[in-house]
Structures are given as C-alpha cells and as structure tokens.
Symmetry: C2
Subunit: 298 residues, 2 copies
C-alpha cells in the first residue's frame, strides 16, 4: 500500500471513531432539545477534523495506539467548533454560511448559538477529565486540561480573535498579523500535536521538534487559508471567496503579494517537514497531513 | 465576639484574598489590553461573592484552612462572572445595568463582551488545574474540574439559561420554573458547597447533608431574587425592579402569590438549616450565609 492510501485508511477510520464518540457524548447530555440540536448541528457539519487527526497521527508516530487520544481529540474538535460558532456571530465576523450550510445563529438564533458555543467549550474540559484512566494517567490529564485552557483562552485563541476584531479596517504589519494567526489558529493546532506528545510521554527533545513542526504547520495553514479566500472555489469552500477583502482584513497575500505568500507557504511547509525528520519518529502520516494543508482546496 | 461579627471578619478577610487573587491572575495574562480590561471590569464590579464564600465557609466547617480552596473559589467566581456577561447580552436578557454599572457589552461592545466571557470561562478551568498541589491533591483537582463542567455546562447552568430564554413569554408551571432555577443558579451554588467537601475529603454522609443544604439554599436564593425584583429598592439592587414582569418571565411570586413565595422561602431556609445541623460540623458561618440569603436586599 502506498503512503497516501495508508493515510486515507487511517484518516477515514479515526474520523469515524471521533465523530461517533462526539455524537454519543452530546446525545447523552440531559439538556433542553434546542441546545443539544444546536450543538450537534455544528459538530456534525462535516469539518476536515485536521486537529484531532493531528493528535491521532502524533500518537501513531510515537508508537502508541491512536485511540488513547480519543477523548482529548473530541475535546479539541468540540472546542474548535465552539470557536467557529462564536466567530460567525453577527457581532463578530457576521457570517451567514459555514461549510456550505447556514451558520448556527442563522438556524437557532443568536442566543442559542452563544449558549451552544458555551456548552461545547465547557464539555471539552469534561471530555478530558472523563477519558478512561487506562489511556491517560491522572497527571497527563491535568496537564492536558491546563494546556487546553492556555491554548484556547485569553493567552491563546480568544486573545487572537480579540486582536483580529480590533484589527479590522486597520492596516496591520506582518508582526501584528502573525500575532493574530499564531494565536487564533496556531495555538490549537500546536496543542493538537503536543497533546499527542503528552499522552505518549515523549521526551523533551522529541517534544521540541514536534513543537517546531506544529508552529510551521500552523503558519502554513493560515497562509493557505488567506490564499484560498482570494482565489478558492466558492462551491468547494462552502463560503463566499473574497470575504476577507470585503471586511478589510489584513492577509498574507495583501502584505506579501500573492507570489510572496505562496513562497512563504512553501517555506513553512519545508520547515515543518524538516522538524518532523528531526524527531526520528515514524512520521509518514504527519507528512501526509502537512501535504494536505499545503494543497487543500477548502 | 458574637457569631455575626465573626462572620463579618471572616467574610471581609476571604473576600479580600479572593479579589486580590482574581485580579492578580488576570493581570498576569499576556493578552490584548481590551480583553483584559473587559475581564477585569466585570470581575471587579463588586458582587456579593456568595459562591466563593460558601466554599470557604464549607472548608471552615469541616475543620480545614479555607485558603486551600482559594483557586477553585476564584474559578467559581470567574465562571459566575462569565455567565452574567453572556446573560446580559442583547440577544439574551438585554440588560443595560448590572450592579449599578453599565453592563460589559455597553462599555466594551458586544464582540468583546462575548470574548471576555469566553476567556473567563476558559481560565476558570485553568485556575483549578494550577492550584498549589499541597492544597488540593491531583485526584481532587480532576474531580473539581469534571464537576465544574457538569455544573456549568449543558446539564447545568447553560441548560438552565437555555430553558429560561425558551420560557420567556410563555407561562410555565412550577416544575418548569424549578428546572430553570435549579440549573441556572442552583447547580453552581451546590458546586460551591460540594467543592469544599471534595477538597476537605468529607465522608459520604456529610456530603449528602451538605448537598441537601445547598439545594435548599439555591431555591431560597432564587425565590428571594424573584421577590426582590418585585419590591426591591432599585438603587440598592443596582438594576431596575420589575424587569422580570416586563420580560414576561415566570417567577415564584407570579405562580404562588407574594405571600406564597414568602412562605416557600421560609420553608427552604428551614430545610437548609436542618440539613446543616445533621452534618454535625461547625456550621455557624454557613448558617450566617443562609440568613444573608434569606434577608438580602440586593
């Protein structure tokens, strides 16, 4: 089997396990129907599941059973989903479409969308606390919870989103743009990789290279996102192209030019692959994810 | 010293320790200034701090140093503060005033208010994870995190708030009203007491009586809230009276009549005090808090 068909099999298998567990966990909640529906609506909207996949692939690279990371993987995807719901709100990015479907607040109203986001954020910490103890020892769980809060909160994703909204209609320099992206998207991508390292009990050196890898990957992800917004296919993308321009958002292509942004993307991808090599681990799947990020069309 | 002056001294001391720690923790965050300001604005708006106080007093009743509960107490108050910020939003209760000051979104705008709430919710889990290990052992921390998620999420506070919003402009029966209140306010009050029991390592019997106590206290708290909304002093209350009526919210006085609601309040207070007695612990401070809830004018 070629590397990429191995990847396809792995990808499909763990995506299915993840989605089943997320749905089961939410379905078990004793809560008003509208809240459960709003949570499930966005959770099952069919994202790429890149973050959980990174966690599973990191465990695989370190010689562990990927399923050990199932509950934290659910936590990451639930937390990511909450951030999309809140980002789409009228007072934030005011988006009507997400993954080709009406955004959460368009279907359930603004109050329920805010509450569904709040509930998803909250349950993500619960998922880690409730992971089976044979897969994750107590101390690792606490580290995963603490690091998730750091990646997702004021010093991470929420800080990045705040700066992003502050930066609208302003022209930002490259440092400001990198602050926004490294916090808004980067921290949770990094967390997804590092969570795998924590669960696997990786040594400090391996952790350092995996951290480098995830930083490069996060930047590549964001540059690709900006390029897609510029010239992606609206139908595949599931949201209008050019929406960053409409909102006067600073982007890599705007700052570096399209060719400059493409060169920066190549550079980040190369950096990511070099870091992977240095880990000395079986990183074929992580390489495939890196390729996916470089070439993705949605 | 009389019981109530002991209480005053205890109350002032731990309120101060709590507020200092919350401010310090938020001030240390590396995050955009507007987000930090929005978080601190609501955290320092001077609430009654009933929930952290319950935790401190429970530890005292069980013969432990109340300061062992400092970080979870901060977590509870930060989480409570997030819930107030989100509840006040235009799409939710649409309140302009809170504790006599403009609500968070009136000062910082809706997007920043949502993000400040998200950040406070997130950091509350971090506070528990980062509590000094000599005050709370690993296993107790994980239990506190899991129970906080349960109390605050879809099966707790967020579920109650969803039902509350669904119930506006509808006439609810007493069971529906009790679902809303036991979830929207009750679960976090119960958590505040039970967190003390977890940290103190209380036995099952003591836990059961403390749980009974907190359930009665939570209902008393809500009935008093409804009565205050009806005939409280707007200046002391810091928000307009009669706002429930304006929003056509179902309340205890509306369902039971003012006299009926007052009788129900007395009944819950009596239940709370009986449960406290059964614990056999030194519950003088918890009794004082119960009195405070019964008689509070804001």
């Amino acid at each position: 089997m070629s590397d990429s068909s191995t990847f396809e099999v792995f990808f499909r298998k763990y995506k299915e396990i993840l989605e089943r567990q997320m749905e089961e966990s939410v379905n078990l909640l004793q809560t008003p129907a509208v809240l459960k529906d709003a949570m499930l609506y966005s959770l099952t909207a069919g994202g790429k599941r890149i973050r959980p996949l990174l966690l599973f692939a990191t465990l695989d690279a370190l010689g562990k059973d990927p399923e050990q990371g199932l509950f934290p993987a659910c936590a990451i995807e639930m937390l990511h989903t909450y951030s999309l719901i809140h980002d789409d709100l009228p007072s934030m990015d005011d988006d009507d479409l997400r993954r080709g479907k009406p955004t959460n607040h368009k279907v359930f109203g603004e109050a329920n969308a805010i509450l569904a986001g709040d509930a998803l954020l909250t349950v993500s910490f619960q998922m880690i606390a409730e992971a089976p103890e044979q897969s994750i020892p107590l101390e690792a769980k606490l580290e995963l919870i603490r690091e998730l809060a750091l990646a997702a909160g004021a010093e991470g994703m929420v800080g990045g989103q705040t700066a992003d909204i502050e930066g609208e209609d302003k022209s930002l320099n490259i440092e400001e743009l990198e602050y926004i992206h490294s916090h808004k998207t980067g921290k949770l991508l990094t967390y997804s990789v590092m969570a795998g390292a924590v669960i696997a009990g990786a040594n400090m050196e391996t952790k350092r290279y995996l951290h480098d890898f995830s930083m490069h990957l996060g930047l590549a992800f964001q540059i690709r996102d900006d390029l897609l917004d510029l010239d992606g296919n609206e139908e595949i993308l599931g949201k209008p192209v050019g929406s960053d321009e409409d909102k006067h958002k600073s982007t890599y292509p705007a700052l570096l030019g399209v060719e400059g942004a493409k060169a920066a993307l190549e550079q980040q991808i190369a950096g990511a692959l070099t870091a992977l090599e240095k880990t000395g681990a079986k990183t074929a799947l992580l390489q495939e994810i890196t390729d996916l990020v470089a070439k993705r069309d949605h």
